[in-house]
Structure formats: C-alpha cells, structure tokens
C-alpha cells in the first residue's frame, strides 16, 4: 500500500507520523475498518429492530387492555358513551392499573358530574374488574382535591 501523495499546501502535515497524516482520499485497503463498521451497523440495526418490535408488541397489549377497560366502564355504568378519559399514571405508571373517567349523564366530555373507575386485573370475557372509584364535579380535572365519594379499594385517594 502506498500513501496518496499530498499537494504542495498539504506538505505541512509531513511532520506528522504517517498514520496521523491527513489524506485527500481514502487509502485502498481500508476494507478491515469498513467490515468492522458494517458489522457494528448491522448489530445496532438488529438491536433497534428488536426494540421496535418489542415496543410494538407492548403497545398492542396496552391497546387490548384499553379496549377491555372501555368495555368495563360502559358495562359498569350502563352508559354507552364514547368520550371516556383513561389515566395510566394515577395508580402507578407501568402498573397495568387504569383510571377511567366519563360523564354520569349525556353531554360534552367533562361537562357533567363524572364517575371515575379504578380498573385492574386480568381480562375476563372482554372486561376487567372494577376495584373502586370516585366522582368529580363538572369541568374539573381528575386531581385529588376535587375527588369525592370514593368507594372500594381506592377510598384513600379522596381528600374527605
């Protein structure tokens, strides 16, 4: 292998050892580095692909659970409403426990007294178990200070 000769203005780099000198173009025979880089790229690509597929499967599982939760809310309240909010954090992120809030009577989302249900456990016959809940006044977000009438296993989540 020979060094690619540098133009006159590049002669200042000749003081550097050969392996540190800049080149105008890549040296032929740098195939080993190319192979290492390509191998690393393939490994990173496969790792990202596994992460994507895993996350996709996780989202699909969550979607199945949310469908069961919505069915549970409609069955429990006997209201076939569409606009039901789902909160996955109040009872612990990544806990599979959800809080679903919706109007107790027909109206725009949140415009009536809302009933919130705490739902967790396995899906049985397309639904999950309701372990308790609370009420919210119209036009209020689900924050602890606004909850009232807590019932079931989540009584401690109401201020009064």
């Amino acid at each position: 292998m020979t060094e690619v000769s540098l133009p006159v203005e590049e002669r200042r780099w000749e003081r550097l050892p050969p392996w540190l000198r800049p080149r105008m173009s890549e040296q032929p025979g740098s195939g080993r580095l190319w192979r290492i880089e390509t191998t690393l790229l393939v490994i990173v690509g496969l790792f990202l692909a596994v992460a994507i597929v895993n996350d996709l499967a996780r989202e699909v599982r969550i979607n199945h659970r949310l469908v069961a939760d919505l069915t549970t809310w409609r069955h429990y309240t006997q209201h076939d409403y569409v606009n039901i909010s789902i909160d996955q954090e109040t009872l612990g992120a990544n806990s599979d426990r959800e809080v679903l809030c919706g109007n107790t009577s027909a109206g725009p989302p949140g415009s009536k007294t809302q009933i919130c249900l705490a739902v967790w456990g396995p899906i049985v016959a397309g639904r999950r178990a309701v372990h308790g809940g609370w009420y919210l006044p119209p036009y209020y977000e689900d924050v602890r200070s606004e909850r009232y009438g807590c019932f079931g296993a989540v009584r401690g989540l109401c201020p009064r």
Binding site: P22, M24, S25, A51, I52
Partner: protein, 449 residues
C-alpha cells in the same frame, strides 16, 4: 461454464427488465393516488391526522371521506411499499425505469398535491406563525415568551398544547424570515409558510439533482429517493416544517463545495459553502454538525473564514433584534434535548430493558455515544473519507440518539445519502425510516374504540 449457461442469467435479467416500465408506472400511480386520497380525505372533516386548524382548503371539503388514523396508516404503508419499489427499480436496472421528465413530473405532482391540502400531522407551523405574530404584531420577543403571551390572538388556539409556554427554539434567521408573513393574517401566513416549505423542497430537490450529477450519480434516482419519500412529502412538506429550509441551505453548501473542487479549488465557493451551513444553522441549529466535517476535509482557510464571517454577521443581527436570548443556541438545544417522544429509539430501548422510560442518566449516555460517533467520523474524514457521507452519518446519529424523535428528523441525512458513494448511509437511513413507520402501526393491529 458453457456459453449457454452464461447466457441464461442474462436472458432472465433481460426478461425481467421488460416488466420494469410497467412496475414503475404502477408504483408511481400508487404514490400519487395515495397522496391524493390522504389530502382529500384529510380535508373532509375532523381527523386525528389533521391538527385543529383554520379553514384552509374549504373547496376540498365535500369531496372525500373523513380520514381515520387507521386509514392513514394503511395509506402510509401502501405509499411506503410503492416508494420502496420505485427506489429499487430506479437504481437496480440498466434500463431506465423512469425518464427524467417523468421523474420530475412525479415528484412535482406529489409535492403539489400535499401543498394543496390541509396542514398534516403537526402543529409546528402554527407555532411558527405565533412567534412571527408575537414579534411583529405585539412587540414581544419570541425567544423569551411562549405563544401563551398572545392568548387573545386568533393563532393561539391552534398552537400545540405542549408548546404554548415554550419560547422559540429556531434560529434568528428563520424567525426574521417569518416576520414578513405575520401581517398576512393567520390564514395568509399559513399559506405563505406552506409556500415557503414547497419552495424549499423544490430547491432541495434541484440541488440534490445537481450534486448527484456533479458526482457522477444518476440524478433521476436521486430525486426519486428524496422527493417521492412518503416521510418527506407527507410529514415534512405536509406539516410545512422549517427543516426543509434547513435542508435547502445544507444542499446549497454541498453543491457549492462540490463545484468548488472542480476543476481547481475555489476559496470563494468554499467560504460560501461554509456560510451556507451557518445560514442553515441560523434556521435550525442541527445542520451546524456539517461544519467540522467540511473544515477537516478541506483543511484550508476559506471554510473557516466563511464560517466565522457568517457566524459573526448572524450573531450581530440576532443580538441586535432579539438580544442575548436570540443567539443563545446552546440553551435552546439543552432544553429540547430533555424532551422525550414515544417514537424515539431511546424510549423503545428503555422499554426493551424493562424501564418505564428514559432517565436523566440515559440522556448523558446518549450524548456520550453521539460524541464518540462524531469523533470517529471526524477521524475518518481526516483520513480521506467523504465529508458529505460523514455529515450524513452524523445527522442520522443525532436523530437515532435523540430522545425527541419526529418523522421529519429522519429526513435530514436523506439528500446527503443519495449523493455519496457509501451506499451504507442510504441503506441505514431508509432502514431507520422503515423502523419508524413500523412503530406507528399498533392501531392497525389492535384498534382502541
């Protein structure tokens, strides 16, 4: 091997080439049909694909059917498949799969269809208009106030909820470019932003063509791979993102650099190329990553002079108009680097490792990984590797290691990837885009009703 045996593969290849024009036509028609369907259906009424927006395309209102998210995903998958087919056909076969004229017409039609439709998949353009109106109509500094400061302005209701308290993260050049659009009113400014994005896209494609031709690549394949890319025209142009203007400046720099090297180096063009990168960074800071590669590759004074001069001018104007906050790019980058999006690879890796999401330590690890990648690429560039390819890899690494990943971020390296000899860059960019699209499809597999 006998002559007959040698002739068989050639014959089979020639036979398969007979199908190339027909397959190409099918792919092109699918792309156009899907783009038209997305735009017409998106204009039909409320859709999860269309952010809340003022009436922009009323004349399209009664034509299509309401576009649901699942319908959009099917359309995205079909157009991605057609794009993949078109990209392979245009690069794989000796027979020209598509003529120059038809390639330009196809790309132009795709861009014009999306331009004629509503704003798609992002509220960013409303923030652009809000910042412009804040500065020009209300005398507020968009680098110190979020759009909530103009809560009574008609644009405010359209700004994304997550961004209404956030000051602009864009460069002072972009903010200044957007100021003249503010007096046009909300609808007028939105159309002007859409037009700006369309022109930037056309300019980027024209420069991609030029660069590909100057470097000895097929310019037809190059503009098809960029301009017919569904993420490019649906997400990038559909959302009228200023990333397209940044990419225009980036490709102008690449074009000037390539032209500067032939037949003999031109200091003026190299300085101009560096200044163009700085101009791009004053639109959106990300593109500044090209500068070290350009400087290390050229090893001449001209790019450094161009950088310093353009930076000094930009900083002076930015400071004069917006004060110190207008030129404090580091603060804006640090703030944005802390965000986490569900589509980021970092978030998906965290889930794979059993964590609920990205932790602060992960941000540091990702930054360290990015620094190592950039240092390796700088070393390779110093030793003769193509600086354009190195820049493309750096942009791809930024998007992959970012915890805030959006579809139009993985477009950044695409125009560079089609004008470099390292085919791995294009393969990696398209693979990352494919993974991004795959991650979107969970509503198709398990719809929530």
């Amino acid at each position: 091997m006998s002559a007959v045996a040698q002739g068989e593969p050639r014959l089979a290849h020639e036979r398969s080439e007979r199908w190339v024009p027909a397959l190409t036509t099918v792919c092109a028609l699918l792309l156009v049909a899907v783009a038209a369907e997305i735009v017409i259906d998106a204009a039909a009424g409320p859709s999860p694909v269309v952010p809340k927006s003022p009436e922009l395309v009323g004349w399209l209102g009664g034509v299509g059917e309401r576009l649901g998210y699942r319908g959009f995903l099917v359309a995205l998958l079909v157009s991605s498949g057609a794009y993949g087919g078109l990209a392979v056909l245009s690069r794989r076969f000796r027979v020209r799969a598509i003529s120059r004229r038809w390639a330009i017409a196809l790309v132009a039609v795709l861009q014009l269809i999306v331009f004629a439709g509503p704003v798609l998949l992002s509220t960013d353009v409303f923030s652009y208009v809000a910042y412009a109106r804040m500065g020009l109509e209300y005398g507020l500094n968009p680098y110190t106030h979020g759009p909530v400061a103009i809560v009574h302005d008609s644009i405010y209701q359209y700004v994304g909820h997550d961004w209404d308290r956030v000051a602009t993260a864009y460069g002072p050049l972009y903010t200044l470019l957007s100021y003249p659009l503010a007096p046009l009113g909300v609808v007028g400014a939105l159309w002007a932003m859409k037009l700006e994005a369309l022109l930037a896209s056309a300019g980027t494609l024209a420069l991609t063509w030029r660069c590909a031709r100057m470097r000895g690549f097929d310019p037809v394949a190059a503009i098809l791979v960029v301009g017919a890319n569904p993420l490019y025209f649906i997400y990038g142009l559909g959302g009228a993102h200023n990333d397209l203007i940044m990419m225009l400046a980036m490709m102008a720099a690449v074009s000037l650099t390539i032209a500067a090297g032939a037949p003999k180096p031109s200091a003026r063009r190299e300085a101009g190329a560096a200044a163009s990168v700085v101009a791009g960074a004053l639109i959106k800071a990300t593109v500044a990553v090209l500068l070290p590669f350009m400087i290390v590759s050229k090893r001449r004074l001209a790019p450094i002079v161009g950088t310093v001069a353009a930076l000094a001018l930009g900083a002076l104007v930015g400071y004069a108009v917006f004060g110190i906050h207008g030129i404090n790019v580091v603060a804006a980058l640090n703030r944005d680097a802390a965000f986490v999006s569900t589509d980021s690879f970092a978030n998906e890796i965290a889930h794979l490792l059993g964590k609920p999401g990205v932790f602060p330590i992960d941000h540091d690890l990702l930054k360290a990984a990015l620094v190592l990648i950039v240092l390796h690429l700088l070393w390779r560039t110093w030793r003769g590797y193509d600086w354009v390819a190195a820049s493309g890899w750096a942009l791809l690494a930024i998007s992959v290691t970012s915890t805030w990943l959006l579809a139009w971020y993985i477009l950044w390296p695409l125009p560079l990837a089609v004008v470099t000899r390292d085919r791995r860059l294009l393969a990696a960019t398209l693979a990352i885009q494919a993974l991004f699209i795959v991650h979107q499809i969970s509503p198709l597999l398990a719809p929530v009703q």
